[in-house]
């Protein structure tokens, strides 16, 4: 009688292992990749995005997973990488994900500067054989600087459209606060998003709606996007992202006697500047902030000093879906805000696209699957957002997301206006 016991256990383990690594098993899983700032001072952005991404993936799987072209359902899985807020690291992660993993699409990165550089290594025009850039679809959730997605036809974004947001905001401010006439402001000049949005979008939007620069008209600013942007920066009182002393800037703000202060920066310096203004008894009639500051960080850092500040944002828990995502984000150790909430929407968009284009999801079809997903993204005209439908601007790969205006009120961001009500 042969004793099979000694060889049975390894045999069963080997069989199980081979089943795990076999193509048949692999076909049951659809892999997506995410990356964002998980280290460095902007770590909270990556933490929040991953928390929401994790919740969204679970939601998809709880509702049956993703249907493949042959009718089978696959489980959605994700891998998440740290690209910090660093262009080289973001490029490195993109190359690694595209060449070494079976991920079908990427979500990220965090920072606009990193995104601008990263998008540059992707194939600019689909099907251009002379361009050896990465052929891997991206659906960015966080990097928000205006106009980045058109760098490559492989790159798409589901981020807010700030020119539209600030245009509507100043239209509303002009109507709601007719006595306010003058503005003054400043930005973090070393941050592409803060700087670009301030000098090319916000000040021009204010001009368009009849507001005057408190210290005299800025040459070249006509109200058109980007007009007189250099002069805007020269006329403002600015700072850097890691600055610790805002006394000179706060004095300039106060001296301007403007009705409205514009503070276009990320949470750390927004709080530094707001606290300095408060200590110097600078009392504007209204303060307007950058979209990125409509987050929990400002409420943790300077709730009192931020009181009254108004910011347009594409996320607020005003619908049951948005409330649910906000709760799930907290359960996963993060916060849902205008950046991270987009990760939820992106996962749902990816599920919809994959199911509509019918991918093979095998190693042999990986390249074709990625291309089909890219093409599927391009055909989208409308997607479901957490606070309403999102319109796609496909010649630019961008989104027109619904948004609301929030105001810092007693340590929370309270929704004070929904522009859709005006339409």
């Amino acid at each position: 009688m042969f004793n099979l016991k000694p060889i049975m256990k390894p045999a069963v383990m080997a069989a199980a292992l081979s089943a795990l690594i076999s193509p048949a098993f692999a076909e049951e899983t659809v892999l997506i990749a995410g990356w964002g700032a998980k280290s460095g001072p902007l770590r909270s952005f990556g933490v929040n995005s991953e928390a929401v991404l994790k919740a969204a993936v679970k939601e998809v799987n709880d509702s049956g997973g993703i249907m493949l072209s042959d009718g089978r359902n696959a489980t959605l899985e994700y891998i998440y990488f740290d690209s910090a807020c660093n262009a080289e690291q973001a490029i490195s992660v993109a190359r690694k994900v595209a060449s070494e993993t079976s991920a079908l699409i990427g979500i990220g990165p965090t920072c606009s500067g990193a995104a601008a550089a990263m998008f540059g290594v992707f194939q600019k025009t689909v099907g251009d054989d002379s361009d050896t850039g990465l052929q891997f679809p991206i659906l960015t959730d966080t990097a928000v600087r205006n106009g980045l997605a058109k760098i490559s036809q492989w790159t798409f974004r589901n981020t807010p459209n700030e020119p539209d947001m600030y245009d509507k905001l100043f239209a509303w401010v002009a109507k709601t606060y007719p006595d306010l006439k003058t503005i003054y402001g400043g930005t973090e000049t070393d941050q592409g998003h803060s700087n670009g949005t301030y000098s090319k979008v916000i000040v021009q939007a204010s001009k368009r709606h009849g507001f005057d620069w408190a210290t005299g008209a800025i040459e070249g600013v006509t109200g058109d996007l980007g007009s007189g942007s250099t002069e805007v920066l020269d006329s403002s009182s600015n700072w850097l992202m890691a600055d610790t002393n805002f006394s000179v800037q706060a004095r300039a703000f106060k001296k301007s006697n403007a009705d409205i202060y514009i503070i276009s920066s990320h949470p750390f310096t927004t709080c530094g500047m707001l606290k300095e203004l408060k200590r110097r008894r600078a009392e504007p009639k209204l303060m307007i902030g950058l979209t990125s500051s409509s987050s929990a960080e400002v409420m943790k850092g300077c709730p009192d000093a931020a009181e009254g500040m108004i910011i347009p944002t594409s996320f607020a828990p005003i619908t049951p879906a948005a409330e649910k995502v906000a709760m799930l984000a907290n359960e996963n150790g993060g916060d849902a805000d205008l950046h991270s909430a987009a990760a939820w929407e992106n996962v749902m968009i990816i599920k919809r696209v994959i199911e509509s284009v019918g991918i093979g999801n095998t190693p042999e079809t990986l390249v074709a699957d990625r291309r089909m997903i890219r093409d599927g993204l391009e055909t989208l005209e409308m997607t479901d957002g957490l606070i309403g439908e999102v319109q796609r601007v496909q010649d630019e790969g961008e989104a027109l997301k619904p948004y609301v205006f929030v105001q810092a009120t007693e340590g929370k961001w309270a929704v004070i206006h929904d522009p859709r009500a005006m339409q």
């Binding site: 850097l240 992202m241 890691a242 600055d243 004095r251 949470p267 750390f268 300077c302």
Partner: protein
Amino acid sequence: MGIDFVDIAQAIIDGLLFGSTYALIGLGFTLIFGAMHKLNLAYAASAIAGAYVGLAMITLTGLPSVLAFFLGPIASGVIGFAVYVTCFRYIPTTNMLAPLMASIGALFFIDEIVIHATAGSPLSFPAVMEDIYLEFGDFGFRGDLIFVLAISLIAMAVLMYILFRTRLGLATRAVSQQPIAAELCGIAGHRTNAITFVVTGALGGLAGCMAAAAVGVISPLLTVPITVKGLIVTVIGGLGSIPGAIIAGFAVGGFENLFLLLFGVNQRDIYVFLLLFVFLVFRPGGVFDTAIERD
């Protein structure tokens, strides 16, 4: 918007007040350099980490917020000791590069621990006399910055007392100037260096708390600029020169604000670094060219 005399004077005064935190950080760098002839680049990271610990303690335990200014320095002292043990203690004194690189590693390590513990979120830091703003005509003075200046001056005075009026200070100076002779006289060099790291760590923790209180917010973003400013202060003041570090700290704070007012934020640091180069070229020994030599 035009710049008048009041703007210039106010900018310089504000800069001097804030410069007291630079002076404290510069003092820490210079004391360690004076004691060991080595730079501890993890110094500002330890200072900010200590301030975080102080904030965490008062937040978690509900202690009065002013205690952050005591708990922070204690925590920084402990971190300073850990940095000494890991980056300096067991590396031969003849190897100049290894401790420098180790301290750079410690800088990023400490910073990343803070970032992971807080997700990098800025946190509100308590300030003393925050509601006080003294106005004299067009001039205004923040009460909390006056408090920062006062505490910094007291800390400097205590440090000077320790260095020049106590046996510990005598031992520190002896090890700094003649380490072999000091050992022969029975002074334990490693123990003295360890105490120096603890004392300077506590000083740094106080500076970290003061800087966070002056901004009103604490963030890991504070680490690198404070490290850079501390190094500039140390060089301008003269490596190893205590009065030099104090004077240079105030001067850098004042000039930094003046350059900001006159040239804008994008050119401010160009002029601050130009100031550094001017000193390196024309007065490499710093404001008070130190005559301390080592065997």
